[in-house]
């Protein structure tokens, strides 16, 4: 297989990347991998601590330039575990599940950096606690299926899947009514 970038040298490296659910396959030679930035050479390995402190400095600098009074405003504190934002910044660790909500406005840039641009979970759902999430995930999968079927002009099959979605949505609706009562 030839390199996708230069189309001259043989591809010796294979990358598959998933960013926000889209999977791309890249086959390149070593020269292009370096030049096009598939390979970046970090100075001294991977240090989470450095990464986090960089992120927070960046974050603070940004906020500082937009809002000079930021430092004076009352500091965010988690109502559940009493951890405040500055100690989260110092330790890089959350104090409890509630912290995720308390600091929610400030943490997505961190997740994006640490997890290659991702901010949303798309993996396992707790078996017992997951409740309607399992059904919602099924609906998502069926919607993608329909998209595919319509592209292939398989309209009859698409209609069957659409009915399945309706049934699942009815189930969710029903269980939420039960919850409310």
């Amino acid at each position: 297989m030839e390199c996708q970038e230069c189309h001259k040298r043989p591809a010796s490296l294979h990358f598959s990347q998933t960013v926000n659910g889209n999977k791309t396959e890249v086959y390149v030679c070593e020269v292009c991998a370096k030049e096009k930035g598939y390979m970046t050479y970090p100075e001294e390995g991977y240090s989470l601590h450095d990464l986090l402190s960089d992120l927070f400095n960046f974050d603070a600098a940004q906020i500082g330039s937009h809002n000079k009074t930021f430092q004076q405003t009352t500091e965010l504190q988690c109502p559940e575990c009493k951890m405040n934002f500055s100690s989260f910044k110092r330790t890089g660790k959350f104090g409890c599940a509630q912290c995720y909500h308390t600091f929610s406005k400030h943490i997505d840039p961190i997740f994006r950096r640490v997890h290659s641009g991702n901010t949303k979970h798309s993996g396992k759902i707790p078996k017992r606690k997951g409740g309607n999430l399992h059904t919602k995930k099924q609906i998502e999968q069926h919607k993608q299926e329909i998209q595919q079927l319509i592209e292939n002009e398989a309209f009859e099959e698409a209609a069957i899947v659409r009915d399945k979605i309706k049934e699942l949505e009815r189930q969710i609706h029903h269980s939420e009514e039960v919850d409310d009562s």
């Binding site: 294979h14 990347q17 660790k93 640490v114 991702n118 949303k120 798309s122 707790p126 078996k127 606690k129």
Partner: protein, 355 residues
């Protein structure tokens, strides 16, 4: 304690079985980080609430059997001597972080030592599962089963958008770290691995040495693991890691073949010299021991050294760590004393092969 009995302790029962690509991949591991809802994470929680979590595990899981994981032992870290803790760390059954905890830290370990659940480490619950050789997908399936089994008794901290909530932002989402332990002597000696590491990092995977400090990997043993835990499903993460590992296996095999073709007698010489050092030395430091063990294992894999079992590398790497040596001696040892004992244990271990 007889040497044979001691040797058996160094190798967990699950390690004795071979696995796919066992000439290069020593083991596969899946770790899931979980927390209890409505209890602050261990870094901040009061001892009372941590004690409650320990209690739940002792009550519900001590001496239980789940599938082929029999008779879970519940161990309070505080009940162990420092050397016993050290030994569990060297066997990778608990983390150094857990071993240092004084109160309300515990581990739940299956009899075959394939499963270990750390309680009140950085997160309330860390489920670890090992398989010999390259078996990530199988390990993931089993880890999910164990996860569901534990969820029967524990309400997990889970969020619809952020997934499983963890103390550290690097674990949130799946809470999963999949990793593979590999013996890569040919890629190391040809310096190819160093050139590949940036590309592997770029794919969202981390490469690090298992033994030794800093960038140096003693015994040419490396761990490859996923870095990203958010935004990808566990299956996709494992599949991506698997493809990186398979590529490394292929490169390592090619590099081994090339070395054999090009080195004339020099590779054979190095392998047999290492064998000689292990068989006859009277003082050996851990670094030299690791290098020699790696060479001998390569000699076994290449068919040059016969009648020595393959798992001698894994076994002696664990056995000659400071904690194990002192566990064997039943007392604290100075560095010099350890070097003498290490040499003597290795000699005796090789003698056992000749019986």
């Amino acid at each position: 304690m007889t040497l044979e009995h001691f040797m058996k302790q160094a190798i967990s029962p699950w390690m004795q079985e071979g696995g796919p690509d066992n000439d290069i991949v020593l083991s596969s591991r899946i770790r899931l980080a979980r927390n209890c809802a409505d209890t602050p994470f261990p870094i901040i929680a009061g001892e009372n609430s941590l004690e409650k979590i320990c209690h739940i595990f002792q009550q519900s899981y001590e001496h239980q059997t789940f599938q082929n994981y029999e008779d879970f032992e519940f161990i309070l870290i505080n009940d162990l001597t420092p050397i016993e803790r050290w030994v569990l760390v060297e066997k990778h059954l608990i983390s150094p972080h857990l071993a240092k905890k004084v109160q309300n830290a515990a581990a739940l370990i299956s009899k075959n030592e394939q499963v270990s659940v750390m309680i009140n480490e950085e997160d309330h619950i860390r489920i670890q599962l090992y398989f010999p050789g390259l078996q990530l997908a199988k390990a993931l399936k089993k880890a999910f089963d164990l996860d569901d089994w534990i969820e029967e008794k524990v309400d997990y901290a889970f969020d619809e958008t952020k997934g499983y909530l963890t103390s550290c932002p690097t674990n949130v989402g799946t809470g999963m770290r999949a990793s593979v332990m590999m013996h890569l002597p040919a890629l190391t000696v040809t310096k190819q691995l160093n050139r590949m590491i940036p590309a592997i990092n770029q794919l969202g995977h981390v490469v690090r040495g298992i033994y030794g400090e800093g960038s140096e990997a003693q015994g040419n043993i490396f761990q490859i693991s996923n870095q990203i835990t958010l935004g990808k499903s566990e299956e996709d993460i494992v599949e991506d890691l698997q493809s990186v590992v398979q590529q490394l296996i292929e490169y390592e095999r090619k590099a081994r073949n090339r070395i054999i073709e090009q080195s004339n007698k020099s590779l054979e010489d190095r392998i047999y010299r290492s064998y000689g050092i292990l068989e006859y030395s009277r003082i050996i430091e851990s670094k030299e021991a690791a290098t020699c063990l790696s060479n001998v294992r390569l000699g076994i894999d290449l068919g040059l050294i016969k009648n020595v079992s393959r798992n001698i590398l894994n076994q002696l790497m664990v056995l000659t760590q400071p904690g194990f040596l002192q566990h064997y001696a039943k007392k604290a040892l100075t560095a010099n004393e350890r070097d003498v004992l290490r040499a003597s244990l290795i000699r005796e271990r090789l003698q056992l092969e000749k019986k």
